[in-house]
Structures are given as C-alpha cells and as structure tokens.
Symmetry: C2
Subunit: 419 residues, 2 copies
C-alpha cells in the first residue's frame, strides 16, 4: 500500500532538502553558540567554506542552482517546539540546565542569515557575514549540504538495485569495522561525522548500527537531531572558532598570548564536567601547554585534533604529570582523521595511561572507498571557518601543515607570540 499522505507531503517540497532541522548540527556548535550569545554579542564575523581537496572541483559536480536551492531551504528552518523542549531538557548530570531559557527563546526565533555565493574558477566562494552567534550556525549545514550534494552527484546515474547494493556494501563495510571495535574492552566512542557525511539518512543509519553493535561502548553522537530522535547522548565541547576569534580581536601581543586561555577561563564560567575539554592545537599544542596557567590542569580532558596523535597525547600526559595530576583520571579525546586501525593503535598505546574517548567522523559516516563506484567517492576535506572578526583576519596554525589558515604576515606574528 502506498502511504498517500507521505507521497503528497513529499510533493510539497520543491527539492529533497538535505538539512531539515536547525538541530541537524553538531552539539558543540550550540554549546559555543550560547557562550557567544552571552559573552560576545556585537562581534561581527565572516565564515568561509574552504575545499582542502584541491583536485576535486565542486563546480563540475554541483550546479549553482541546486546549491542555492538547498541553502535557501535551510534558511527557512525554525526550531520546532519539540526541538526547543529537547534543548531545554539538556542538564549537567541532572543538576543544572545546560541551556538558559533566554538562549533557547532566542534560538526559537532564529533563522540562518544570508549567504554570499560566487563562482570562482573551478570552485564556489561561499561566505557568511554578520553577527558571530548567527553566522556560526551556518558552519555545519553549509558543510553537510555541499557534502551530500556531492554524494548525490556521484550517485545520479545509478540504477535502483545498483544503489541498493552500494548501500549494502557500505553497511557491510561499517559492520566489519564495528565488529573490530567491539573487541576493545573499555572503548568509548562517539559519532563526530555530521559535517562530512555521505548523507543525513546514511549518518542516521551509521549511528543506529553503532548503537546496536557497540552497546555501552557507544557514547552517542555530535548530531543533535539524531540524538533527539534516537534518544542518544549528544556529544561535544568546543572548537578552534573560539580561540581564533578571541585572538583576532586582541590589540597587543600580550593580549594575543593570553587570548587562548582567556576564552577557556570564560568557558568554565558557563560549563562544567565533561564540557571542560582543552583543545590545545590552535596555535601549536607544545606552546599551548608550556604557557598554560595552572588552573587549566584541573580540567577534565584534552582533545587531540591535529598532528601526530601519539605525540599530542604524550605532550598532554607529560603536562598533566608535571602539574601533579593523576593522568588515569584524565580524559584524552582523539578526533582527527580516525579509522579503525588508528583507534586500535591509540587504544593499545594509551588505554592504561588515561581515560580515552574517540570522536569518529568522516570514516564513520562517509567511507565509500572501494565500493565499486567512482573513485572520486573518496571523502573530501571541506571546512567552514571564521576568516575574520570585526574586520581583523583570523589565524590558525594547528599541529598540521595542511590546516594552517591566515596570511603570511599574521602567521609570522602569531608564531612569534605563541612560542
């Protein structure tokens, strides 16, 4: 029997929308958003979509019209009543509300602001300008729209059963990964794959498969919408955006040197426990720890998001030890370019030194390599970053050469200051 209502409902869409809810975003974006809403009203920023995969041209795959249609559609979204209720219901260990009534009320009125889209040679220039807390919420929908439009383009010519077999292969591939991960006794792992996912429906499937396959080893997902619908834990803390913009807004070198710590000092006024996670690599992890204030050593954990994860973890462990902390009580979160082999290796190496947690992204939600479709199906590395704040350029150095952001003169100054 055809479900006539569903059929007619779908006829109302001009397009098949990729992003259908403002909660279809990462939890840390909302945690950061409330933080920005309270602490940095009036800061104007510019975010830009950047394609780090130089050999893939988005213009060849995605038409400007379909990209505009999806972005326009996302701008029509409003938080629903149930979504607002879910946000309000997020508590710190049952004590305090994570999101204030004022913030949720603001979010209920929120719609995504305008975007600027231009064709630039072989790529699109997609930027968002305006109030920080508004523009910031474009990051994840912009990335997941481009990522899924690319998937749709790659799958366009396939037959119905060919497609079903493709997904069958992808399911099998993921399940084999899950069966390997299951063997790691004290594994704690979460989905961090919203931004570069193959598609929303596929991410939703992957998360449910992880939940069934890994049971208690699966912590939850960074995706708020899936967390809400599937009754899972929403996972996330903070990101480079905060120190990058705090730093860009400083005037003197000493203010700049203090900015990455100042943002965390403000953060701990808002959030507690598992949300007190240090992301040390924005301007190089070694220097971050060298200059870090003592109070920061009491935070819950460190997230390793670039560079060699073994070196990154060892640096954090040494730092905690030097501050007299018991590392086995500390949390190391690995979240950069993970796949099963890396997870197994890091688990073997560090599971007796600290509590571990893994934020698994692209290779969880978009690993279609070797499944018999176009080779281009290798996931691409797209980011959407703040490039300036109040007209001043942002800088990111990170522990990876490929993730550097900023102009030469600014980079030199930052490198001099963060030594």
């Amino acid at each position: 029997m055809v479900d006539i209502a569903t059929r007619v409902f779908n006829q109302n869409w001009k397009i098949d929308p990729i992003v259908r809810s403002l909660l279809d975003t990462d939890f840390y974006k909302i945690l950061m958003n409330q933080f920005i809403y309270r602490n940095s009203k009036g800061v104007e920023v510019k975010f830009q979509l950047i394609n780090r995969t130089k050999d893939v041209s988005l213009v060849d795959l995605i038409s400007e019209e379909e990209l505009r249609n999806q972005l326009d559609q996302a701008r029509m979204l409003r938080l629903s009543r149930g979504e607002a209720t879910w946000l309000r219901g997020n508590h710190f260990y049952g004590n305090e509300m994570m999101f204030s009534p004022e913030y949720v009320s603001w979010f209920e009125e929120f719609t995504l602001p305008e975007y600027n889209l231009k064709k630039q040679n072989d790529n699109y220039e997609l930027t968002f300008e305006g109030a920080w807390n508004e523009v910031s919420l474009w990051e994840i929908p912009a990335l997941s729209i481009v990522s899924e439009l690319r998937s749709r383009a790659l799958l366009r010519e396939m037959g119905k059963f060919e497609l079903q077999v493709l997904y069958a292969r992808a399911m099998t591939k993921l399940w084999e990964k899950i069966e390997k991960l299951k063997k790691l006794t004290n594994l704690r792992i979460a989905d961090f794959g919203t931004r570069r996912r193959h598609s929303f429906l596929w991410q939703d499937w992957c998360i449910q498969a992880m939940n069934e396959g890994l049971g208690e080893k699966f912590l939850g997902t960074s995706n708020c919408l899936v967390a809400q619908r599937r009754e899972l834990e929403a996972i996330g803390t903070n990101a480079h955006e905060l120190p990058m913009i705090y730093s860009a807004l400083t005037d003197t070198d000493s203010e700049l040197a203090a900015a990455p710590y100042e943002v965390l000092a403000n953060w701990q006024k808002e959030y507690d426990g598992n949300l007190k996670i240090i992301l040390p690599d924005t301007y190089g992890s070694e220097n971050f720890f060298k200059n870090a204030p003592d109070w920061l050593a009491q935070w819950t954990g460190v997230r390793i998001d670039s560079g060699n994860p073994i070196l990154g973890a060892e640096t954090a462990l040494r730092w905690w030890s030097s501050k007299g902390e018991d590392t086995t009580k500390k949390l190391l979160i690995f979240s950069d370019g993970l796949d099963v082999n890396a997870i197994e290796m890091l688990y073997a190496r560090f599971s007796s030194s600290a509590r571990l947690s893994f934020g698994w992204g692209t290779m969880l939600t978009n690993d279609f390599r070797g499944l018999g479709i176009n080779l281009e199906a290798n996931p691409m590395s797209l980011v959407c970053k703040a490039v300036n704040a109040n007209g001043r350029p942002t800088v990111k150095i990170s522990d990876d050469f490929g993730k550097v952001l900023g102009q030469a003169s600014d980079l030199n100054r930052y490198k001099r200051v963060f030594v």
Copy 2:
C-alpha cells in the same frame, strides 16, 4: 509517518504467512497441473516431503505448531480475480491461450487439500494424499514453507542492524555474481529458486536485482506470483513427476518402457514451442535417448537436471546429431545445482554448440554461506515427491546416486526395463 492501514492489516494475521498466494508456485507446476487435469483425472497419488540433508534435523529448528500454522494458512488461499486474469492472459507467442477457460475456472475454486504431519524421530513426516492434480500443487508451497521456517529459526536471535547487515552482505554477494554473469555475452538465465528460497521477500529481491543487473540476459522467473507482480516472463516446462506417475501406473514391462515417451506424446498435444522440453534423466539419460522415438528429436530442447552436466549435454548433442538435427538450433537448459562457476564453465563449453539457457535455483535465492551467521545456513536439499500413484510405488533413478527414489525390488525392475 506510519501507514496505519498497513499496520492494522498486518495485525489481522495470526502469523506472518510465508505463502500468501496460490500463484506463489513454479510455472511448470501449473502447466503440468492443467495437463494432469485434462489427461489423468481420477489418479490418486501420495506426495512426501523428503530431507536429503541428513545432518540437519528439522524438528530441532521448527516447532510442529508453527509448521501447522503455515500449512493451515496456505490451505485458506484462493486464486484472486487478478491472478486468474493473469493465468488466462498467458499465450503461446500471442496465438493461443496457454490455459483453457475450464482449467482456470477449476483453479479459481481450488484450495490446497489436507496434509498429514507426524513427528518421526528427528524429522517430520509430511505427506499429502488425494487426487493427483490437487496434491501436486502442494509441492512448492510445502517446500518453501519449510525452507523459510528454517531461515526464520536461524535468524531468530539476531538484532535489527545485525540482520540488515546480513542482508546487505547477501545483496553484495548476489550482485558480485551478477557482475560476473553480465560478462557472458549471449547468456540466457532464469530464476528457478522458489522451492529452496531463503524467503519470499528475498527471492523477490533477487529476481529484481537480476532483472536490473542482467537486462535482456535475464529471461524471467519460474515463480508465477513474482512474474505477475514484476511483469516478468513466467518460465518452466515439466518435471519428473509426470514420467514417474505414468510409469507407476503401468502393468507390463513393455508398458513401463513406453511410459516416459507416452507422457511426452501427450504433452505435445497440449503445449508447443519452448514448452516442448525433454527431461531425459528420470530413469537414466543414456537409456532414454537410446530408446527414444524419432519424433522426439524435433522437440525444442533438453533439460539437464542431474549427473555430470557436461556428459548430459554431450549425450543430448550426440543424439540430436545422430537424428540429423542442427544442434545450434536446439536448446540446452541446465538446471541442476548451478552457481556462477558452473554457469561460466558450461557457457564456455557449449555456447557454440547449441542455444543455452540456465535455470538458477538455490544458489540464487538462498546463498547465505559465509555471511557470518550460523554455519547451518548452508542451504539444505529438500524435495517433495510423488511416492505412489493409485497405490503403486513410484521410482526415480536419475543420473545422480543421491536422487534415487524407490524400493530395491522396484528399482531392480526399472533398471532392467530401462536399458
């Protein structure tokens, strides 16, 4: 949105029925059924389910209650109006109706007759007794019910996503087979997998995947219900049942020796073209051809259903040549224990000698070997055969030792007569 109607509809079933239509059977059963209806009214037969896989106990897997529920449910089925219309619409190359109005009217009133079920040590004894044309229609539903109940038993403990991955693996496995078969330029292949299928829904999927993947190389399916619903060709001719019962009904040795040819002489009064297919192995193919009347060499083809298929095909080709026939116009149908390797081998060997066609059964619709579930998921060899007719025992010799049927004294007589 939940489709409430579907949900409520499903609530009406006491069980999830395996066989939901009298057309969920092989086309040759209906072709033979009309033949029996017209030629052999009044013959009383007994059919019996036989488990050739001695190491699998059905009693351990399937409860008597669930088996009875499924058999009882099948007895409630009646041909629907649309199904009768489909039967009436089957023509010989657009000329003549394949099924007479009288026969279809009879079928519209038909329900499956009673069954006898007893637990016998580690197996069920399941038999059907009564008018040949009524009892005969139990063969396929009885087999597919037992086959699917076994699948359900093997899958009972699996989680939802574990199950989905199992089917994902099975889909991938079949698609890889299809991709290999696609390379055989003039391949002609049909689904013959109803009786030992994993389940109805899985067979339906396999057939559609074959149809999309192989295009014109896929001839259709022996399953009438899927043929009707998916608008495919229904494929089939005749089976051992006819010569076995014709032979059992004879009195003298000379009548017995003539019986396998007499049945074909009657068959060609009813059917034409691609339905004039010889199945020579009931009492040994070598002897069948040695003693065959000349007119039989003009029939369209030979089906090779037991023994070494290379020897079987060579025997048929030699026989046609000896009768002055052009073998390249003749059709060889291979239908015994096929999988991709055997199909490729037979195709390479015989595609220049004759027209070829493959009837692919168990390894198309029930190949779950090596997919990570219970080893017992190897398909089993179940048959449902006529064991006597008007009280006289039937005999089958075949070209395979494992397919022999009958008591020693009868076997000796048959071996003596068919030399």
